[in-house]
Amino acid sequence: MKLSVKDLKKTFKLSKKQQKINRTDSRVKHALKGISFDAFPGEIFGLLGPNGAGKTTAMRSIATLIKPDSGTITLGDFDALTESKRTRQSIAFLTNELKLEDYFSPNYLFAYFSKLYGVDEATMKKRRDALFTRFGIDRFAEVKVADLSSGMKQKTSIAMSLVHDPDVIIFDEPTNGLDVLTAKTVLDYLGELKEKGKTIIISTHILSVVEKIVDRVGIIIQGEMKILEPMDVIRQSDNYQDLETLFFELVEAEVHDA
């Protein structure tokens, strides 16, 4: 399912406290200044940018958690903004700020989220067995989330986000805080999902991850899409040395302009 974002704008009102933190007299923050990008089935799109650039706002807008001021988001053939229930049924959205309830086991939570997504019992069990085996959660399926290691919690969160077998997968920092083995498991799985034709958008600060698995990249700086290119173009272009150098040049240029 193709995801198409067009001219997305979002402005936040700042409280006095936030004005103080951001050291600004402005009462508003332009989080997104009209970004556009497409993500296609069977590809991994990397959304990069420094903290506060607008990545999370863009992803929250796609997940219908917040409403953009203007612009359009289309999923396949429908308007994601007006058909929010259908949108949420079609996407997986996982960020570090989304947590699982400590009191429950992965088994219970998988069944719970499956119910909320309207997945029938037989399908739920099939998907649960496949995902739990794939991530090694099956051995901890009855352990409370509170007692799981951080790596196992992250893998459990990923499994929960996929209970409904979504077409579009949006992961914010999917390997954040994971050891190399767990990170590899997650990245390999994203590769498998890509092969299955899923549309995948990831946001990460780990540029080596981007270089390794991402097909196209968009770099947002201060709410604007500064670069939108296939990774191959970046790798082969004479204008760009490598992704890391390009990223730092863009950020430094923005800091200099500011």
């Binding site: 958690l65 989304l98 699982l100 989220f113 909320l116």
Partner: protein
């Protein structure tokens, strides 16, 4: 509705598996109330027993020797009154002063009208108890003298036929209706306040709210599921508190037994159904109010502190019932909470109409609907959901 039930069952399961939460929310209130009220009842009982069994220090002047046998040495310790300031003496000694006319016996014999002066400290329990004992003895003496000197017809200015009807059920209903509405509201509010912030604001604080909001479940179904779960747990907690009160009332009120009072006999099935419906409606309103506060708050702590003033207002509104004879106009029962308390009072005092019950239910359901809608709006507000 299916989604709301899924949300509700998750909250109930969480509550059930968290034994600490289950204990502190459902069992502890009942146990605490039973323990506290029983201790209070025993302390009061001991005080009363101590006073009734205390010896009265009786200062007498000019008491005829013939009257001395009236005063049981086990209850009275008799001393001579030596003309001290009576107020100071009864205050300091916690005793009683009894002064007879010097020629009390002679005047009685001559059909005169002798005087007896009694002094005691009405603000002191021991002295007051002593005063009552002496008054009873003097009454007995007066009746004895009258009996010795006059026929029954001569003693009576008018004849009396006294028939005192005492319906235990009515006494019970009167006592219960004056205090129970207040207790009901306090227990339900306390129960809702102990869990709603955790169930709603806690989701925000723990980062689990947004996880649910990215699922296809509607905000309305989510809000309704939460409110239903809090209602069920609040009712369980309030029920526990009631059991605690019911078991401790006999001790607190120093009743010999409550076996003679059968609640179902007093109120009937209709009364019990009316009571249940009004309590359920009231719980929904209270839970709705706390849910709105919890949805607005960033954390459990903030939700609890924001709800505390509402708790005090609720207690004040409920306490007004103690000085009220019920709503003068049935339509006033449509005021949320106020109407509930008036009708609970009416049901318990066996003085209610089904119209008033229906008014309270309709008003409570509409209010809860509005509050649930407000929760839904708050959960749709990115500013409230993602505020830090």
């Amino acid at each position: 509705m299916r989604d709301s039930l899924t949300i509700m069952s998750k909250e109930l399961k969480r509550f059930w598996i968290d034994k600490k939460l289950l204990f502190t929310t459902v069992l502890l209130p009942g146990l605490m109330i039973f323990a506290i009220y029983s201790i209070m009842g025993n302390v009061i009982g001991n005080q009363v027993e101590e006073i009734t069994q205390s010896t009265t220090t009786l200062y007498v002047e000019n008491m005829p020797e013939s009257l001395e046998p009236l005063f049981d040495p086990a209850l009275f310790e008799i001393s001579a009154y030596e003309g001290q300031d009576p107020e100071t003496l009864v205050n300091d000694s916690e005793g009683v002063i009894l002064v007879f006319d010097p020629d009390f016996a002679e005047q009685l014999a001559a059909d005169g009208f002798p005087e007896v002066k009694l002094y005691f400290d009405g603000s002191n329990e021991t002295s007051s108890e002593g005063g009552s004992r002496v008054l009873n003895l003097l009454d007995g003496l007066r009746n004895q003298i009258l009996a010795e000197n006059y026929t029954e017809e001569e003693r009576l200015v008018f004849a009396e036929t006294i028939t005192a009807y005492e319906d235990e059920s009515e006494i019970f209903a009167t006592i219960i209706s004056s205090i129970v509405p207040l207790l009901i509201v306090i227990f339900i509010f306390a129960a809702a306040l102990s869990i709603a912030p955790d169930i709603i604001a806690g989701e925000k604080e723990r980062g689990t709210l947004a996880t649910l909001l990215v699922t296809p479940i509607s905000r309305s179904a989510f809000a309704l599921g939460k409110i239903l779960a809090i209602t069920v747990i609040s009712l369980a907690s309030a029920f526990s508190s009631f059991i605690g009160v019911a078991l401790s009332i006999p001790v607190l009120l120093q009743l010999e037994s409550t076996g003679s009072v059968n609640v179902l006999d007093i109120y009937g099935v209709g009364g019990m159904v009316a009571l249940l419906l009004v309590i359920l409606s009231t719980t929904l309103v209270i839970v709705g109010v706390i849910s709105v506060v919890s949805a607005y708050a960033k954390s459990i702590k903030e939700a609890a502190s924001l709800a505390s003033p509402l708790y005090l207002i609720t207690i004040v509104v409920s306490a007004l019932n103690l000085f009220s004879d019920g709503a003068s106009n049935e339509l006033l029962n449509a005021i949320p909470l106020y109407g509930s308390i008036q009708v609970i009072n009416g049901v318990l005092a066996q003085n209610y109409t089904w119209t008033s019950v229906l008014i309270v239910m309709a008003s409570s359901l509409i209010t809860t609907g509005l509050l649930a809608w407000t929760v839904k709006l708050m959960l749709s507000s990115e500013r409230i959901v993602f505020q830090k």
